[in-house]
């Protein structure tokens, strides 16, 4: 997985200054928490359902090899083929071979973060095209827009979140080769045009590639969730259907899928269920008038099995709902591109170092205030802040953190282990800080400007002055009074 994560700081600064991006992010920040809360308040037992969802994912992960083999047997019994890929490169090669064998020229895809992770489109269009050009067309509207623009997704669910309507209109104008004076202005017309263009692609394609939301061991079923219906047409119309997905997506039974579906759409888009939830069990049957004759499932590891048995195993529970992105004060300030990885926000900050190496993503685990909102909205109870902390510990141990930070942390450790010294140093710091403070709003004192190291904080924001008496002092006095 290629990342630009080392440039995180510069990209974040640019994102904060990007006016149009800030408008999109502001919309996300205001709308998503509200519609999610409304959707889950409708259920009397949403929190219990999340506990159950987490337990289901844990059960699957605890016996991953068993459920994967059961899934494989069921797919094979239905006439499909299962392929295993240890790396992204292997997965691309497998897909390339299937496309070549199918004599394919035109390939349609529905949105899949796993194929973004392994950069399948680029592989097919460049390296896979030895004896003929593969033309790959994304059919999720957001993914189609960024494909035309040559961009990466900036949100795992809404990949074109950063693109304004005007930019969409210009993009369509530049690529659709339709005679007209100026770009469309009404989004309804843009939708009609995109639907018409993509419908032709659907009907002409020889291969359809989709991802999967869940794999069902009991039935060998692949569950795909969309609102547009594009995954369904991708799985119905071409003669070859290839599913590319991660090994961690398997769950034991249909009952388990039902529980996970209850929390997925509510967490993701504030809906009870997405418009289309599709279960695919193999290729066309005898007597069927349509459906793919060839059906393949590619199971990708790409670093996932390395997380088993480690402090990052819980990350494998992730169902890619994006609630942690939508509720993250860092993601909603800088957007997805700053992370430099197709996985962004808190889940991306945990997953990217795991998949592409900590050394190429040292900034990401530090891009968190540890406010804990991500963990509180996660429908499968992933302790995201705890795992970010694990990465920070590794950075410290492996001497990857900057020298200043390491010295600071060492100093902090020394203080923390000596309560008496800690209290006196804190008292001193509080007195100094109060010296810099001025009376401000809410009858409190605020610090507007600090010298030296403190300037890094006050350049961007005010800081509340420490209270005249520390909590510990008050506590002791209260205890003495009793």
């Amino acid at each position: 997985m290629q990342t630009t994560s080392p440039k995180f700081k510069a990209l974040s600064r640019a994102a904060l200054a990007d006016r149009t991006l800030q408008v999109s992010l502001d919309g996300l920040r205001r709308i998503m928490p509200e519609i999610r809360t409304a959707a889950l308040n409708e259920m009397s037992d949403f929190e219990a359902t999340c506990d159950q969802a987490a337990e289901i994912r844990n059960t699957a992960i605890a016996s991953l090899d068993h459920y994967l083999r059961q899934f494989e047997r069921q797919v094979q019994a239905s006439g499909g083929q299962v392929h295993w890929a240890a790396t992204g490169e292997e997965a691309c090669q497998i897909v390339g071979r299937i496309c070549s064998a199918a004599g394919a020229k035109k390939i349609i895809k529905s949105k899949s973060m796993v194929t973004e992770e392994i950069e399948l489109n680029a592989w097919l269009e460049n390296r896979g095209a030895r004896d003929g050009q593969f033309e790959v067309t994304e059919t999720d509207l957001g993914e189609y827009i960024i494909q035309l623009r040559g961009e990466k997704p900036s949100h795992i669910l809404a990949p074109s979140l950063h693109v304004t309507l005007e930019e969409v209109a210009e993009t369509f104008h530049a690529h659709h080769q339709i005679e007209r004076q100026q770009p469309l202005s009404d989004p309804a017309d843009m939708l009609v045009e995109a639907r018409r263009v993509l419908r032709q692609k659907f009907l002409a394609a020889e291969v359809g590639i989709t991802g999967a939301n869940f794999l069902v061991a009991e039935t060998g079923g692949v569950v795909i969730v969309t609102n547009e219906g594009n995954a369904d047409l991708t799985a119905c119309l071409p003669d070859t259907h290839i599913v590319v997905t991660g090994i961690e997506k398997v769950v034991p039974t249909l009952d388990d899928v039902g529980v996970l579906l209850r929390v997925l759409a509510r967490s993701a888009i504030g809906e009870r269920l997405s418009n289309y939830t599709t279960f695919v069990q193999g290729p066309r049957r005898a007597g069927d008038s349509s459906g793919p004759g060839n059906y393949h499932v590619v199971l990708l590891d790409n670093g996932r099995s390395n997380l088993l048995g480690t402090e990052f195993q819980d990350m494998l529970r992730c169902i890619r709902c994006s609630a942690c992105l939508n509720h993250c004060p860092v993601y909603t300030a800088i957007g997805g591109h700053a992370y430099g990885s197709v996985y962004s926000g808190p889940m991306g900050a945990v997953l990217t170092p795991a998949l592409s190496g900590l050394s190429s993503a040292t900034h990401l685990p530090n891009a968190s205030t540890f406010c804990g909102r991500c963990e509180s909205v996660c429908p499968v109870r992933i302790p995201l802040p705890k795992m970010l902390r694990h990465w920070r510990e590794q950075e410290f141990k492996r001497k990857m953190a900057p020298a200043g930070q390491r010295v600071g942390l060492r100093f902090w450790r020394i203080l923390n282990r000596r309560p008496f010294v800690y209290r006196w140093v804190m008292r001193l710091v509080a007195i100094i800080l109060r010296g810099f403070s001025r009376a401000g709003k809410n009858g409190r004192r605020w610090i507007r400007r600090l010298p030296l190291l403190g300037a890094a904080w006050t350049q961007q924001r005010d800081m509340a002055a420490p209270a005249p008496k520390s909590f510990q002092t008050k506590w002791r006095r209260q205890g003495a009074a009793k």
Binding site: G27, A48, T49, Q52, I61, A62, L64, D65, L68, Q70, A77, S78, H83, W84, A86, E90, L141, G142, S160, L165, P187, M190, L191, R196, R199, A217, G221, N227, E228, G229, D232, L233, A235, C236, P252, T253, D255, D256, R262, E271, R272, L273, S274, N275, Y276, T278, F279, P283, R284, R285, S289, S290, G291, L299, D301, S305, N306, L308, T310, Q313
Partner: protein, 219 residues
């Protein structure tokens, strides 16, 4: 092929090496599932819930007494929406008691593939009240693309197939398909939509822009 075979062994060995854990076969010993939704008091509650939640997701829904009423209901709907009276009728919508040809104004075609402007009528396997979802299974009588290619999808839902929750659907499915699962199972909640062209989301992305549900009390 040898390379992919080794990838399989490599991955499974990595999993086993990292996590030796006891396994239970999920088909032979289904794990107990916590019943999260309370069972319905009477079927009517589920049907009304199913229809009202489908309406919330931009579908339209009506209820008729018997199969013979369906063609007239379809005609009424097409006229109210000012749609063409030409229909493509899936095999599983030819439920006994529905005489499509009895309504003279309807033009009932038997085209295999639906075009973008068409109206398709299909049956369904179930309705799930908790999500306002219609469930269809692919078959020669109901190719899955019928659900997605047309602009308007009319679904006939016999009242007897409406269940309250997912938990009530799965046992039915296992009982009806003991040997082999259907190739494709589609849960459909209202018309196709996209949120990629601004807020609010827009109907008719790739699939139908209209979904009309007709619940039939006795058929």
């Amino acid at each position: 092929m040898s390379q992919t075979l080794s990838a399989r062994e490599q991955i499974l060995a990595a999993i086993r090496g990292a996590k030796p854990a006891p396994a239970t076969d999920s088909t032979s010993t289904p794990r107990p599932t916590l019943q999260l939704t309370s069972p319905p008091d009477d079927p009517d509650t589920s049907i009304e819930r199913f229809m009202s939640l489908a309406r919330e997701e931009a579908a339209t829904a009506e209820r008729v007494a018997e199969a013979a009423d369906v063609p007239r209901a379809v005609l009424r709907y097409l006229r109210s929406e000012r749609l063409s009276l030409r229909l493509i009728i899936a095999g599983n919508a030819r439920i006994s008691g529905i005489v499509w040809e009895s309504t003279a104004d309807l033009d009932c075609a038997a085209e295999p593939v639906a075009d973008d402007g068409d109206t398709v009528v299909t049956g369904c396997y179930a309705g799930v009240a908790e999500a306002g979802a219609v469930v269809t299974l692919s078959s020669s009588d109901h190719p899955s693309e019928f659900n997605f290619l047309a602009a308007t999808h009319i679904v006939i839902v016999p009242a007897s197939v409406v269940v309250d929750s997912f938990e009530q659907l799965w046992p039915r499915l296992r009982a009806d398909y003991p040997e082999r699962w259907p190739r494709m199972m589609n849960f459909i909640v209202g018309p196709s939509r996209t949120a990629d062209l601004g807020v609010p989301s827009r109907l008719g992305a790739h699939g139908p822009s209209r979904v009309h549900i007709i619940v039939v009390d006795s058929c």
